[in-house]
């Protein structure tokens, strides 16, 4: 029988939740990297036991951890003396060396002044679809890095940060993070990324050059609401069978493109509020979407204290509230942009974690939910793996 492994990054460590394919009874691991912020961890689609984790701290900076046994043990890649030698023959730890390539350049600060790019942390790790030693990393301040040696060394794909629009990028409230990386399974040269608060960019040459993909987005908090950049995109997602159709949860508005970002249209429809952070696509139904509406940009909790996932089975516009098993009063948590995931079992499993430390799961396309664990630190990221 299949097993499911859910990887949870929190403000104070990582946790691994495991269950059989029924997804009713769960085991919760002890904390990994206790006390550290784990913005994200994600397994390789090629080798699910290869997991990359972004560990960070205001005191000690960025660390990259890697497991080759499904999260039982972890190492900082290349930190063993025999693994990586510097010029003088001494071991040289570089798995956490994220250095912008060439001229650092400047972007806008909150007050409209310019300031230089400064690396702060890795928000998101996206392992390659074909090679377990290749992984992409989205940074704050926004940039895209890639390793091809299992995380021992990272190199910037600088064409993104040096895009002509980059001097106009400005951080969102959470920082100027590159938070989403979508690798097109049908076209290995196509990558979508999203940055708060710059917008969506697409590369068709493996990450060397980039185009903005924000036409149709309207952001009324901007002096020019339809500008080429400056859109606070919270999350984008697609179904692997249909990578030209991309869905977006923006700061406000749920959006859809049917032509790989050339034009976006709003599909918020009857949502009670179209502010929110995550967006997911059902693993078996490319037109079935999930969002978690949040009251507003000023009130980061669900409307009326009721935690409701909204599902659209029509690719947007028509939405239904999913409430069974979710708290319907006195609930004032948030669900962050990387804190949701789907599994590939039938029926599709959906998971999300909250800033209150709960991780909820559904094993029936979202019809009903159960709390898998209730009292973790604030959840920053959730990923699901199915193990055969």
């Amino acid at each position: 029988m299949s097993k499911v492994r859910v990887l949870v990054g929190t403000k104070k460590g990582a946790f691994i939740l495991t269950s059989d394919g029924a997804r009713k009874n769960w085991e919760v691991s002890d904390p990994h990297f206790g006390g550290w912020e784990i913005y994200h961890l994600k397994g390789s689609p090629v080798d699910p036991n290869r997991i990359y984790a972004s560990q960070s701290s205001g005191w000690f900076g960025q660390i990259i951890q890697r497991s080759d046994d499904g999260g039982k043990s972890w190492n900082t890649p290349g930190s063993k003396p025999e693994e990586l030698q510097g010029e003088q023959g001494m071991p040289k730890g570089e798995s956490n060396k994220f250095v912008y390539d060439g001229n650092v350049g400047q972007h806008l600060w909150y007050d409209g002044t310019s300031r230089p790019w400064e690396f702060k942390r890795i928000w998101h790790l996206e392992p390659s679809l074909t090679d377990p030693n290749t992984c992409y990393a989205g940074a704050e301040d926004a940039a895209l890095f890639r390793t091809t040696d299992g995380g021992k060394t990272w190199h910037e794909l600088a064409g993104l940060r040096t895009h002509p629009s980059a001097p106009q990028w400005m951080p969102g409230a959470g920082g100027m993070g590159l938070h989403t990386i979508l690798l097109d399974p049908k076209n290995p040269n196509r990558i979508y990324i999203a940055i708060s608060a710059a917008g969506v960019f697409r590369s068709d040459d493996g990450g060397t050059t980039w185009k903005t993909a924000n036409k149709g987005l309207v952001s009324n908090y901007n002096p020019n609401p339809t500008a080429e950049v400056g859109h606070c995109v919270h999350r984008i997602a697609f179904h692997p069978s249909r990578p030209d159709v991309v869905f977006m949860q923006k700061h406000w508005d749920v959006m859809r493109t049917d032509n790989a970002g050339a034009q976006w249209t709003e599909v918020s429809g009857n949502l009670p509020t179209d502010f929110g952070f995550p967006i997911e696509v059902n693993a078996h139904e490319p037109n079935t979407l999930y969002v978690v509406p949040i009251t507003s940009d000023s009130l980061h909790y669900p409307p009326d204290g009721r935690l409701r996932v909204y599902r659209s089975r029509s690719g947007g516009n028509e939405w239904e509230a999913l409430t069974k098993g979710l708290p319907q009063k006195d609930c004032y948590v948030n669900v962050l942009r990387d804190a949701s995931a789907v599994d590939s079992l039938e029926p599709c499993g959906i998971y999300f974690g909250t800033t209150g430390g709960q991780v909820y799961g559904s094993a029936d396309n979202g019809d009903s939910w159960q709390p898998i664990v209730r009292d973790l630190p604030a959840v920053l990221s959730v990923e699901a793996q199915v193990l055969k």
Partner: protein, 98 residues
């Protein structure tokens, strides 16, 4: 023998129990200690000082014989008590919270 004490999280990261003991030939300075420490424990690179600039990370301090040496030149010779191991070189995480 040089004695170095690290904060809890860095000891965990590098899988160190207790103090780190280093042998350094030549003048004992902060730079010499950190170079030797990172050579012994490569995954500490970038956690105490920046990979490129080698500037101390903002929320860490270096204490020497009950004095704060954080803003001293990294090449200033450390006191004899550090060089002989009588006193440890302390890497301290700034206190946060209230």
């Amino acid at each position: 023998m040089i004695r170095v004490e690290l904060p809890y999280h860095l000891r965990n990261l590098a899988r160190i129990e207790g103090e780190v003991h280093l042998d350094i030939s030549g003048t004992v300075t902060q730079r010499a200690i950190l170079d030797a420490l990172e050579a012994r424990h490569p995954n500490l690179c970038g956690t105490i000082r920046d990979h490129v600039t080698h500037k101390r990370r903002a929320f860490l301090r270096f204490y020497v014989c009950q004095e704060d040496w954080s803003n001293e030149s990294p090449d200033k010779p450390l006191p004899e008590a550090i060089a002989t191991g009588k006193e440890p070189f302390l890497v301290i995480g700034s206190i946060a919270g209230g």
